[in-house]
Structures are given as structure tokens and as C-alpha cells.
Symmetry: C2
Subunit: 372 residues, 2 copies
């Protein structure tokens, strides 16, 4: 009677790898930049109030929703009130909640796309269609399906939608009267600390997803949905059936952290560090694996490029030698690919050099093997 | 295109009530007994390790799974290993995870039953059938459906399954080859600190759900599923699609708390206090509303009984006067009822007295109104 569902390739790697593995696979932030002391200080204050350990409201605590709303208003130029925010247990949870609250049976995604979203859509039995060009999107989209888009440092492609492209997508949405789920998990991770206005500002029937995972810490599992108040109300039944509400303590902890610290000063620090790490990995690729073709990203946590061999087979060879990266096949619906995604934030500089160097000789051996 | 799902009556009340309301509605523990200092101390230790803020494995961190497994082995006489535990974001999340991993389209519940489970089954489109007597259960159960049962201090009825009844249910399960979801959220809350062995020990194809919400703190959203290792493996895809994993920090926090403190000493303290509070509420009912018929529970957090008027209409009148309790109609699939559930753990002694006294006059006025 068991309904065997395939696990995410990335989560399986994460679960299987140990300290001996150099991993470029997961989207793990650099733990050196977790605000450990600041959160520890905040926790002392939070623990003074027993309410932090009690059940709380399904939509999330007011103070944190206010702070998130003000980030939209002040940093993204997207006027938002606390009634337009729902706190989720990580941004990942938003997929399940939103899809359960809508009748749509079909989701349209850009190809390649985020594996966690694809998994959430599949497990709910949704049909997934993909597009590469906006002209394809225009043909697929209609009032009864949903567009899932990642506007900033797309995972995995690392592409950023230009302001023009955002307007074009909004115009397509307006014509089709469809629903937009816009994933903004990486929207503040521009190496030069610039942000772009979400498509959601240009289209009302939208859900913009945000997350503290990449800008504070993923281990707290704190994300949110921004939507018009009426749409947020419609999410509450699905949210409460999943976990009643997101951890009260974690919400109060981050609220306190945001009160006592300048989040955007912290984000600037992360972006500076990530920019340097990305440049270093890019240099290593050029030096050790010049056949790997990629465009340096403007932000985010990944380098995405293309080998001249099957990346899935290469990834399997590499895993045997304790090097993990993600072959792009898992980001496509049903397509072979030589592309691959490398996370540059989690490994140390030393590991990046060692890992790419080792991968270079794995690739050489693999190439010899298939050519012999 | 919105798929309007009804919210839980209880969560709606919880969200709507404020400080002026005396609430007997939610299943909220007494916050006086949250181990605030102990958790605060534990958090200091946890914050020394940056891994507490990083992503972690979908099944949950090993140390906490080991501790939970040893509770089964040593306190419930149910031999369990860490491979047989999945950490969930509150016990509530287990419903969604388990149901997604099984093909079953039908769930059988005892009537009345836990509203949060009913909500989770409904939102996944499952058909729900109910039984009151085991003879009815025997007719409904088969190898392709699931039995959902709450063996200890059933929510809302407060009934405890005797050891004989547990054996009978296990025998029905064995004959039918069905699947069991056994909710053990209240299993340690016996006023005399006695525990009964779960039915799951007697039937292998079972999922036993546990929670730290009632014995440590609900605001951390930490629960678990206990099942054979093969069944746990089959849950991982559904778990990761929901929220990747449960908060690393919260898991490490409770693991540290369990290392530094005697959990069962703490539970004994809670049970003593709850027993006294229950007796007090029972006394108030006898004094102020003698027409409310109930049997004193042996544990748990509720008094469940019957008015001689429609409890749904009475609850609505009471809410207008800022008294909240739960009319049993919401616990039934489709049945009128005079029964009602009162939580005695969250309100203070003073509030219990004031609330029941006020409800008495609300009931008098209501009775006069319907008789006039």
C-alpha cells in the first residue's frame, strides 16, 4: 500500500554525505556568517516571556509580520501591510500551503527549475509543464493554472529577470488572468546589494515567497508568503492543517534579532563574502576545468554551467570520490543535460580548491573511460 | 479559482480571542509549567555550535532520535531504535506526511475525534468513515484503508483504551491487514503517572505519533513518528517536500534539555498540577452548572461532558460574553450534539471559577430564551 515517492536528489545527497565529502551540492549558506552571538543574545530576551513556548496564531506573530511587511515597503518598494504576510515553516512549506488552497491542477515552471518546488508540486499530484522562452509561456498560461517563477538568481540557472522581462511576464499574467507564485528566496543576495522589484508588485493575484534561510539562518525554518490579505486568509486552513503554526519561539527570536540588529548591514557582509568566494570558485574552474562553461552569476549561491560530458554520470563518479555537485538533469522535467550546479557558499576556500582540482582528475579519468 | 477550505473551529477561536476572553477552547498547556529557565540554559550551550543554525537531515538529528527511541524502550516497554523515529514539525505534521506516503483513500476514525486530524485528512481529499463501537470498526476496516486512533485520554472524549481494548483493536488490525495511525500526544499525561503500552507494539504496520507539545512546550513545534524503519524511509520524500526538515535549532535545544534534565520528573510535576486543576474545574461545574454531565478524566487536559441544550448554540452565546469552549459538533463528521469540551490546563484557578460561574448565567439566560 506504500506510495513510493522519489526523494529529492539533493536531499538524498545531503543525508548521505559525511565529513569526508566536499559538497557543492546543497544550497547551504556559509555558517561562518550565521549571526550566532546576536541570536544567542536575542534568545535571552525572548526566554523572559513564557509565551514564546506557547501555541500561537496560524498566520504568525504580529511583530514579525510587521517587520517583514516593512522590508517589502522600504527595501523592495512594494507597499505591504502585516495582513499581507503569512509566516511559514521555511519558504518550502509555502508550496504545499498555496497549492492546497487553489483548485489549479497545473503548474508552469521555467526549465530548469528549483527541485524542491518540483517535488512539492508532484507530491500533490499537480501536472507540471515547462517553458524556456516567454513565447512558450504565453501559449501555456491560462486562468486556471499557476506560474511558478524565480525572478532573482534563479535556482539553478542563476539568471536574473531584467526589469523589462518582469514587465513582460506581468503583462502575460494580466492577459491570461493566471496565478503567480514568485520565489524570492535569493532576492537580497546581489553581490552589489542591489534589489529588483518583484513581478508580484505588477500583478495582484500573486504570492511572493520569502525566507530567512539565506539571510539569517536556515536551521530556524522561517519563511513567509506575501499576498493580498484576501489570499492570505484563504491560506490559513491549509497552514493550520500542516503544523498549526510556525514555531512561536523561532518567530519571536528573529523578531528580537531584527529589533536589535541591522539586517541589511548583515546582508551586505554576506554579499561581500559570497562575491569573493564565487570569484575564487570561478578562478578554480578556469584553472583546473577550463572545459566547464559558465557565466559568472551576479548574486545568489551557485555557479551554473555546462560540461562537455553527461553531468549525471560525472556526478555519480564524483560522489564515489567524495565530491558532490548537482547534475542539472534533476532540475528538468524530462531532459538529459550536461549542465551542473555548484554551490560556492558552504565549502571553505581550501575545500573549493581541493574539490575542483580533484573533480578535474575525476573528469579526466571519466573522459578517458568513455573514449576508450 | 480559490479552493475555500473551512478552517478549524478551534484555531479560528484561538485566532479571534484576546486577553478579555476566558478560554477553555484550545488544548493549551499551562504556561506556568514551561521549563523556561532550563531551555534558556540549554540554548546557551546549543548556540556554541553554528551547526544549530544550518540545514540538517530530513529524518531529524540523530541525538534527539536516540533520546526519543529510548523513551519508547524504557518508559513504554516498546523496543525502538533511532532508525524508527522521524522528527516532525509538531505531531500535527505527521498526518500530512503519513497520508501522502500511502495510497489509501479512506481513513476510519472514532467518533468524536481530534479536529486537527479530521482537517488534515479532509484537505488531502481522503474519505472519512467513523465508528463508535469496535463491532462497527470491524465492518469498516480493510487492507486498503487506515485506522486513526487516540489510545490515551482521547481528544475530545478523554477516554483511555484499556489493555484489553488495545489487544482487541490489534487483533482486528491483524485480521484486516490495515494500517494504524496511533496518536500518542497525551500518553504520558496520566494523573498518577502510569502509562499504557501503545497498540502499535502489538501491530507492526503502525505509525505511533508523539509530541513534546504537552510535556515540554508546544511553541517549539516538535513531534515525531515512530514506525518500523522501512516505513520511516517511505516518509522522507513527503517530509522533505513539506519543510525540508524540522528546525535544527529546536531539535538540538530539546536534545540538550533532555541531556541536562529529568523529563519524567518534569512530567510528574505537570500531572500533579493538572490533576488538581481538573478537580477544581469539576468542583466548579458541580457547584455552578450541575446540569452538565461528565465523567472525571484520568489524565489529559480536558473535561468532556454533555449539556441538556444544544452545545453549539450555547457556545455561540458564550463567545459573545467572552467565554470560549468547544461544542462537540466540530468533533463529529456530521452529527448534532449537546456535548462539549473544556480545557482546564490553560486558564488560571480564578479564571476557571469566573468562567464557569459566568457560563452558568449564560446558560440560564439561554434556557429562558429558548423556553419562552
Amino acid at each position: 500500500m506504500s506510495n513510493k515517492i522519489k526523494r529529492s536528489y539533493i536531499r538524498e545527497i545531503l543525508d548521505a554525505t559525511d565529513e569526508d565529502t566536499i559538497s557543492f551540492a546543497g544550497g547551504l549558506p556559509d555558517k561562518e556568517f550565521f549571526p550566532l552571538n546576536q541570536l544567542s543574545k536575542a534568545s535571552k530576551k525572548v526566554f523572559k516571556n513564557a509565551d514564546c513556548l506557547q501555541y500561537s496564531k496560524s498566520q504568525g506573530i504580529e511583530g514579525l509580520r510587521e517587520k517583514i511587511a516593512s522590508i517589502y515597503t522600504n527595501k523592495l518598494g512594494f507597499k505591504t501591510s502585516k495582513e499581507e504576510i503569512l509566516i511559514t515553516t521555511g519558504s518550502q512549506q509555502a508550496f504545499d500551503i498555496i497549492l492546497k488552497s487553489l483548485d489549479s491542477k497545473q503548474v508552469i515552471v521555467e526549465s530548469p527549475s528549483y527541485i524542491g518546488a518540483l517535488g512539492a508540486f508532484k507530491i500533490l499530484g499537480k501536472e507540471i509543464k515547462d517553458f524556456k522562452k516567454l513565447s512558450e509561456l504565453e501559449k501555456l498560461i491560462n486562468s486556471s493554472n499557476i506560474l511558478y517563477a524565480i525572478s532573482d538568481y534563479q535556482n539553478p540557472s542563476t539568471n536574473v529577470y531584467s526589469n523589462k522581462k518582469r514587465k513582460n511576464i506581468a503583462s502575460i499574467l494580466n492577459k491570461s488572468n493566471s496565478t503567480l507564485i514568485e520565489d524570492g528566496a535569493y532576492c537580497f543576495l546581489n553581490f552589489k546589494n542591489k534589489v529588483k522589484t518583484p513581478i508580484s508588485k505588477l500583478y495582484e493575484n500573486s504570492y511572493h515567497l520569502g525566507s530567512f534561510s539565506k539571510i539569517v539562518a536556515p536551521g530556524l525554518r522561517l519563511g513567509w508568503v506575501r499576498a493580498k490579505a484576501e489570499n492570505i486568509d484563504n491560506l490559513l486552513a491549509a497552514k493550520e492543517s500542516l503544523d498549526l503554526h510556525t514555531s512561536t519561539f523561532n518567530q519571536m527570536l528573529v523578531e528580537q534579532y531584527l529589533k536589535d540588529n541591522d539586517l541589511f548591514e548583515h546582508i551586505t557582509k554576506i554579499n561581500d563574502a559570497y562575491s569573493k568566494k564565487m570569484e575564487y570558485m570561478a578562478k578554480c574552474f578556469k584553472k583546473y576545468i577550463p572545459s566547464f562553461k559558465f557565466k559568472k552569476p551576479e548574486g545568489g549561491m551557485f555557479i551554473y554551467g555546462s560540461f562537455d560530458v553527461d553531468s549525471m554520470l560525472l556526478a555519480k563518479e564524483a560522489l564515489k570520490e567524495n565530491i558532490a555537485f548537482v547534475p542539472a538533469e534533476v532540475f528538468y522535467l524530462d531532459e538529459k543535460s550536461n549542465e551542473a550546479r555548484f554551490n560556492f557558499t558552504n565549502a571553505t576556500y581550501k575545500e573549493i580548491k581541493m574539490g575542483i582540482k580533484k573533480l578535474s582528475s575525476i573528469l579526466d579519468n571519466y573522459t578517458k573511460k568513455i573514449n576508450s
